[in-house]
């Protein structure tokens, strides 16, 4: 009990042990739901944009409930930049690859020339690849937008 009181004394203004515990418990489920929305876009409402925003919101929630440092420990600045670029590159790269392989730009059935699958199956798979790219890009850019705008680009304390 005494330790709890001591730790409560060190806590900064606006930090609440209730909110932090709730956020810590909710985070895995939010991220799992984000992945589900991305992956299940073929069968239900959802897709890369929506799932990416949910994943990005989980990191923003960490930054709001704890502080920016905790958020940056979960997803570092470098990894975030790499993921954003890789996500956009996956989408554009898939399109260019299709064009180089003799199809039209973003005509995923041309990928059947590399891995022999049914061209129709490749169109389904191509949609999935592209959605994953969109999800990665949107997730990291949502997180980095919040980090930069909330801390004036310093990435130190935030709100």
């Amino acid at each position: 009990m005494k330790r709890v009181q001591e730790r409560a004394g060190q806590r900064a203004v606006g930090e609440s042990v209730i909110i932090q515990t709730a956020v810590r418990l909710m985070l895995p489920f939010i991220q799992l739901f984000g992945l589900y929305v991305i992956v299940h876009g073929h069968y239900s409402p959802g897709g890369g944009f929506q799932g990416g925003v949910i994943l990005g919101a989980s990191f923003i929630l960490t930054a709001v409930a704890f502080d920016l440092k905790t958020s940056l420990r979960r997803l570092s600045e470098r990894v975030d930049t790499v993921l954003g670029n890789v996500g956009a590159l996956i989408f554009v790269g898939t399109g260019v690859l299709c064009a180089l392989l003799g199809g039209l730009f973003l005509d995923y059935s041309a990928l059947a020339n590399v891995i022999p699958l049914d061209p129709v199956e490749w169109r389904s798979l191509g949609i999935f690849i592209v959605e994953v790219g969109v999800g990665l890009a949107v997730m990291s850019i949502m997180a980095s937008l919040y980090w930069d705008l909330s801390s004036r680009g310093e990435l130190d304390e935030g709100l």
Partner: protein, 91 residues
Amino acid sequence: MKALALLATLVTGAILLYGTQDFAPWGDPDSPPNRNVSPTYITEAVHETHVPNIVTAVVADYRSYDTMFETVVIYCAGLVVVSVLRRRQKS
């Protein structure tokens, strides 16, 4: 400068409004998009792409060019905010 910006906005807006004159009537089942494009998507999407969700098939396959540039727009937003605001951290 402000007056010039206002003028440019008004002229662009007027041109866009003028462009809507040529749109097909809203909700008309006999307009060209409703007669040709939509039925094709509805009848062909599932066996052409094997995606049960037609919206996903349209967004990420038939109209993937549009979706690609939506991603690029978001990417540019992130890029601009990072390049304008972020300062090199002392580590």
